[in-house]
């Protein structure tokens, strides 16, 4: 076991390599470019390939090819680049291909800026691409968790044959924290019985990687199979972390960087006698609705703290079905919430009379 200081972007790269990923196709965009630099150096060390594509559109399609050929493969980008990848993600989901896509969110919409945000939540969890599909979305909040969840992302992608998104923000991407690197054997990767790697690998019958089914009955059958898969994921893969929730009357809900700010807010609030708690989704899709309901029995209100105009707040409302009011506090366009300001919101809610 070794312990080293790593940057968030680098931790993704190292987590991917340890999970057996040997191919990265991507394009530079701030704030994830250091991941590309890291992998450009690291992948050849393990006999892999970093290929800089000409665009994010090309990147996601190279991922499609490599995944269909049977490899563990990833790409990464930020807002505008992730938007360019949406068609590709729909195709990957429709063709049931595994891959890992990293989004280091930045200010938007449009070109926006390179400051951190969480404004791509809807894009990641509600679609983004066309058609009936979902992405598994993981939201780490520390460099260690970035490393661990990246590895988990590859496992989930292969098991469910679906793209998995690891989503963080510019702060996560850039910050440095100590990370424990386990000295374990390289991840065992199963050969894929569906990969179209040439008939030499599976003589006698061809394989097709495809998402086009012109006969509606066939397309519906494919969609039903996808729906059953997503139902399984919904039941099996929800993940979250709770802090001081047992007696919490005000529950803050936050993911990623904001969850760390909110943890400090909860601690300060408790010192002031306010029964606050923190619920931190780790999977954004599937949203950990079951755990949220189970652990917030005493909650009188929820405060969703996000770096956006109000996106995850809707999933909280859906999960608790009107049991208690749900409020939102957000900073926008690259601004990061300040603990003092969030605490003020909590105090306002606790003393009553504020409806957002």
């Amino acid at each position: 076991m070794s312990r080293i200081l790593m940057k968030g972007n680098e931790a993704i790269g190292e987590g991917a390599v340890r999970a057996g990923c040997r191919y990265f196709f991507g394009y530079p965009i701030t704030p994830q470019s250091e991941l590309t630099h890291y992998l450009a150096r690291r992948l050849p060390e393990v006999g892999g390939l970093y290929l800089q594509a000409e665009s994010e559109v090309a990147s996601i399609n190279m991922v499609y090819g490599a995944s269909g050929a049977g490899a563990r493969v990833m790409t990464s980008s930020s807002g505008p680049g992730i938007s360019l990848m949406q068609e590709g993600l729909s195709f990957l989901a429709g063709a049931e291909l595994p891959c890992v896509v990293v989004n280091m969110m930045r200010g938007g919409p449009g070109l926006g800026n390179i400051a951190p945000s969480q404004a791509d939540y809807f894009q990641a969890t509600k679609g983004g691409g066309h058609g009936d599909y979902r992405l598994i979305v993981l939201a780490p909040n520390s460099v260690q968790e970035i490393l661990d969840l990246t590895g988990k992302a590859f496992e989930l992608a292969d098991y469910y044959r679906n793209p998995v998104m690891v989503m963080a923000d510019g702060i996560m991407a850039q910050m440095m924290e100590p990370v424990e690197l386990k000295n374990e054997a390289q991840a065992e990767i199963q050969a894929k019985p569906w990969a179209a790697s040439g008939m030499i690998d599976h003589p006698g019958s061809k394989r097709i990687i495809n998402s086009c089914f012109v006969i509606p009955e066939e397309m519906e059958a494919v969609n039903i199979r996808l729906k059953e898969k997503y139902t399984q994921i919904l039941f099996n893969e929800q993940d979250s972390e709770g802090y001081l929730l047992e007696d919490a009357e005000i529950v803050l809900v936050a993911f990623g960087t904001v969850s760390r700010i909110c943890r400090a807010v909860v601690e300060k609030a408790r010192q002031l006698g306010i029964p606050a708690g923190l619920f931190r989704p780790v999977t954004l899709w599937p949203f950990p609705a079951e755990e949220l309901k189970r652990t917030t029995g005493k909650a009188k209100c929820f405060l969703s703290v996000e770096m956006n105009m109000g996106q995850m707040v809707e999933d909280i409302q859906l999960a608790i079905s009107g049991k208690a009011p749900v409020y939102h506090y957000g900073r926008l366009g690259g601004m990061v919430p300040v603990a003092r300001d969030v605490l003020q919101e909590v105090q306002k809610l606790y003393s009553g009379g504020v409806v957002k």
Partner: protein, 251 residues
């Protein structure tokens, strides 16, 4: 008596959905014959486009990928980089390759990707009902150029072989046609050469195949053959535009 012409075994024995007289059928057959003759059926992987030939993934009895519109060279890149000893080819139309896919084919070419692109140029969009293609010639009437292709509105047609020739990553470029027996015999030679260039690991290869689209040209198949000869060949001259001079192109 000896059988001197029969259908290639690697094409599925089903009717093609292509229109009467559409030369996709000829192009498919030539690619299939080349794959059979080179003995690469077990290592060949094809990438089908969006267009009339979207069903190429069903017709070729080898491993196939369906790609999104224009992206086949990027998909092929992903496959070839993971499986460098496979023979990876794309089969694309003029909208797929020369419109929406321009970025992908140019960069696959300049990277010297060891893949082969079979580019079907029939100067029109077939599957979507006869709109202008980047390769539609000046004055040609289509559904979206009802008064003829005009320099002011749509500019000039694109010549793919000529455009790619200066790029060092390209190892073999040829333009052929499949409208007459003589042209078809020549086409097969050059398509075979393009696949051989991939087997020799020399770089990107592309064969542009001038083809007919009787339905959307509004012509009978026989008239379409004449139109190709009289109108397309002068603008898109046939021949080899790049050939390995010898030696291996640096990766």
């Amino acid at each position: 008596m000896k059988k001197v012409f029969k259908r290639p075994g690697i094409l599925k024995d089903v009717p093609f959905h292509y229109c009467p007289g559409c030369t996709h059928g000829v192009a498919h057959r030539l690619v299939a014959e080349v794959i059979e003759e080179l003995g690469i059926r077990d290592t060949a992987i094809g990438v089908a486009p969006v267009g009339c030939s979207v069903f190429a993934m069903d017709y070729f009895e080898i491993d196939m990928f369906q790609a999104s519109h224009g992206r086949a060279p990027a998909v092929a890149t992903g496959i070839k980089r993971v499986l460098p000893d496979r023979v990876v080819f794309t089969y694309q139309g003029d909208g797929d390759l020369a419109a929406i896919g321009t970025g992908e084919f140019v960069h696959a070419a300049t990277r010297g990707e060891r893949i082969t692109a079979v580019f079907i140029n029939n100067a029109i969009y077939g599957m979507t009902g006869g709109q202008m293609a980047p390769t539609t010639i000046m004055g040609q009437v289509t559904k979206t150029t009802p008064f003829g292709r005009d320099r002011e509105i749509n500019g000039f047609p694109i010549r793919v072989c000529e455009m790619l020739a200066p790029l060092e990553g390209t190892a073999y470029l040829a333009r052929v046609a499949v409208h007459t027996p003589k042209a078809i015999i020549q086409a097969k030679k050059f398509i075979k050469r393009a696949f051989e260039v991939q087997l020799e690991g020399l770089g990107f290869s592309l064969v542009e195949v001038l083809s007919t689209c009787p339905t959307n040209w509004g012509l009978s198949p026989l008239e379409a053959v004449k139109w190709l000869e009289e109108k397309m060949v002068p603008y898109y001259p046939l021949g080899e535009y790049k050939s390995p001079a010898g030696g291996v192109i640096n990766a």
